[in-house]
Symmetry: C2
Subunit: 506 residues, 2 copies
């Protein structure tokens, strides 16, 4: 959702449709404060004010509350105003608590925010009842000064304001238990949309790891079937991570703010426009202007920045279709060390992700140590418990095909042949073609960590099948690993073998 | 250089200028074989044939030789033809040896290729002399059947064919010693441009690690001031790696070939067009068409593919301006496990890169274990030898600012204060603001490998300064590292300290 400042349209909303916009967000408090905007919004609706006939979310002015400490309007009044001007998604006036404040302040702010959320729910229900009683027209009671109803000019309009959606805002500063409390209590109130607030200062500090904790804590305690909005996250470099933890909506004032500062956004970071010798982008702005032209124009920079944000959203969506969102996060993590922290933090929530992750998808790509903690690896480890092994078992670190395995089973009398593949562990040759082991690509030179994780799983399998006799064969590099000592202790036989294939020459 | 098939223009050369093309490559053999093309090229020049007035390189048909085993033309004839039609960069008819052939075959092919290169040099010199003798017009001798001179219609034309550049082609299959031999002997012959041939089958096999070895071996034995072309490397996912090892020119038939196969290129891999639900790109094609339209059109796919290739070239160029090419490779490496091999291979040539790498640049980003092998780290380690330490030396793993360091030097009587920062090692507090230690960003949770590399450098520093008395203080995680045992042995005092900052609460 591009953020529209009704006082200053850097890009006209109708232009944004061409760029990919399907929904906008604007600030109800800014409209309310300026008489001419307020009057027009009350008279013709906020959609008409912005010349926009698609969905529109309104914010409540809580950011202004955060910046200036005081507002000229109450929670109930700003909610009422949002309803009267025909907003599609209404935000109560939450209290955005900064990060790293005292626990006492965070708790006090949170209680106040939750009271306001309850008030919002009451007002909203009352409005819905009144609308139901009053039929199609909004009632004089709730819609008070509304002249003709804000949504009158829209498709499906005049349904009464209560057909809008209400957002509940999660607060709690950097205290994860307060974030949890906040999410649970909002979930009990049943909002249409949940928004995570108070993260902008953390985004500005590049505290991406902490933001991941906050998102995960909220998401794990909110209804899984409701959209989650991450308030103020407008830089495309973070979209993939937030989506990986379950965020669905973003708003971006970044396109305009960065442009004003002469900064050029990319999905992999921010460049100073003055440093641009080449335009690392093919968007319509960059394809039809020189680097010099883009460097010097706030309008061109804003348009480019918005194109890039929409492009990244499509990149994320396409990666979900393909089942490659983790791979996308791996790539984006290499844009900044702080995003590496975000990636690492993703692995902390892998059990939560694993429960919801599709069972099969695009081939598994091993791209770094963090991939050893991916949900697919976790799930594969869980499958181990279902393997029942008995008799002579061959465990090999050499890649065997099914034919070779069958031959050895017959000639050497094995009941089972298991092949070790990092980072998964040992898989029975019968599963060689199945996801994930059969559809996984690993580098020729894989890191030690992946092999250690594989050996951990091997050890677990051996311990779960005490009756089986394990014959282990491996090459020298595997043999030198610490964990292999433990494997040796359990194995009935251990053979160190050269890599035949490598020795031959064509 | 987009590859133009003169028989089949998927995109008109003049359209390519808008997309960013500044130079094209076409196949002289294909033109030669088809009478109508040959006649027109001889009469009006190859630029006129393709309606292209910018630089143009011609290939010799060696790919066809590779594919079909035999050609209807000799090396001297195809060189003569390229000169007569006014090519700007001329390629002799080398013999592209496939990978993994026997050494005997690779050597035999290489000798034949080198003979042809020598022949090309002779023909080229003779032509230059003849042109010099004949003045501005090309001589009847060499330019034989040339009617009016191929370059007559061009800016700066009629200078005689010898003003073109001659490319020497490096072969040697997957034998690095033969690649070295090949590069050395070509370098002695002094070509204008050097091209690395025979890598297409490796690109198709995703054998990126091996290609890195081949490029590095060639580059280290070629003149550093001559451009190097990587023949047949047209997929944008590999550009950054090839450039990191010193390639300057690429040719791409990929844009058209992949489009014909209904494949959609990105800088991070290849997608099947039929899998596109969203277009992860903002190029003029993707910005103005639906995913469905793009999926179904070879022309749109080809145009998109070419836009992406040019975009990636600009991304690479801009990263060179910024000094962030390594970071770009880190990101691209996460597109495929085989590119991880390429990245790892880059670290094998870090001494070569270090010699040519700028001394200061963009802040150093630690993005993965491979970053511990970056040239900046290698160079920093080399600087160690210049530190002369004596008296009491504090070595700490806690980040100190200069004020704190000064206070401790005074109060605790240290001659030097050194701070350990992974992956660099220990730096004297006086260098806290200098590149690279002072301009480096590392994740909050950095991997063990970076810390091990840092400790190796610390140990080296301690051993180089046997007279100094080292007082080491570190936190628990550092203390638990294996290498810290060795540090302890040398240290006069070793203090395990809690992280004070972490214990305080706001």
């Amino acid at each position: 959702m591009p953020v529209i400042n009704p006082n200053l349209l850097v890009i006209e909303p109708r232009e944004m449709v061409k760029m990919g916009a399907e929904i906008l967000i604007t600030n109800a408090y800014i409209i309310y404060k300026k008489e001419e905007l307020r009057e027009e919004a009350l008279k013709k609706g906020v959609h008409s004010l912005l010349k926009w006939d698609k969905p529109l979310m309104t914010d409540s002015g809580s950011y202004q509350l955060y910046e200036y400490g005081d507002l000229e309007i109450s929670n109930s009044d700003i909610i009422d105003f949002q309803m009267r001007v025909g907003s599609d998604i209404i935000t109560p006036l939450d209290i955005p608590t900064p990060p790293f404040v005292s626990r006492r302040k965070a708790l006090k702010d949170l209680e106040a925010t939750l009271e306001r959320m309850e008030e919002a729910k009451r007002l909203f229900s009352a409005s819905a009842e009144a609308a139901a009683e009053g039929g199609c027209e909004s009632s004089g009671e709730v819609g008070g000064g509304s002249e003709s109803g804000g949504r009158g000019s829209r498709e499906g309009g005049a349904k009464g304001e209560a057909s809008a959606l209400l957002a509940g805002v999660v607060q709690g500063s950097t205290y994860l238990d307060l974030r949890e409390e906040s999410a649970k209590r909002l979930a009990a109130m049943q909002f249409d949309i949940y928004a995570i607030g108070g993260v902008v200062p953390l985004l500005e500090l590049y505290e991406f790891g902490r933001i991941m904790d906050i998102i995960a804590t909220a998401k794990m305690n909110l209804p899984l079937n409701a959209p989650v909005h991450l308030f103020g996250a407008g830089h495309p470099m973070f979209f993939s991570f937030a989506v990986a933890l379950g965020c669905d909506l973003f708003d971006s004032a970044a396109y305009a703010i960065y442009a004003k500062d002469k900064r050029y956004l990319t999905s992999e970071g921010t460049l100073y426009a003055e440093d641009l010798n080449y335009l690392p982008c093919s968007c319509p702005v960059c394809a039809s202007h020189s680097a010099k032209e883009v460097r010097e124009s706030v309008e061109l920079l804003a348009a480019h920045n918005l194109y890039v944000a929409f492009e990244e959203m499509r990149v994320v969506k396409q990666s979900i279709v393909e089942g490659t969102l983790w791979e996308l996060c791996e790539r984006r993590a290499r844009s900044h060390p702080s995003l590496m922290d975000a990636l690492r933090r993703l692995t902390k929530y892998v059990d939560f992700i694993e429960r919801l992750d599709p069972v099969t998808k695009h081939p598994f790509f091993y791209l770094s140590e963090t991939c050893a903690s991916r949900p697919e690896v976790r799930r594969f480890a869980g499958m181990l418990e279902r393997f029942k092994l008995r008799g002579k078992v061959l465990l090999t670190t050499f890649p065997l095909n099914e034919g070779e395995a069958a031959r050895r089973m017959e000639q050497e009398g094995y009941e089972h042949v298991l092949v070790v593949k990092p980072p998964f562990g040992a898989f029975p040759i019968e599963l060689a073609e199945t996801y994930p082991v059969g559809q996984s690509e690993i580098p020729n030179e894989i890191d030690e960590h992946a092999k250690e994780v594989a050996l951990e799983h091997v050890l677990r399998l051996m311990r779960l099948n005490r009756d089986a006799k394990f014959f282990v064969e491996c090459d020298e590099r595997w043999a030198n690993m610490k964990k292999m000592e433990e494997v040796k202790k359990i194995a009935s036989e251990f053979v160190l073998r050269g890599d035949d294939e490598e020795c031959e020459e064509g």
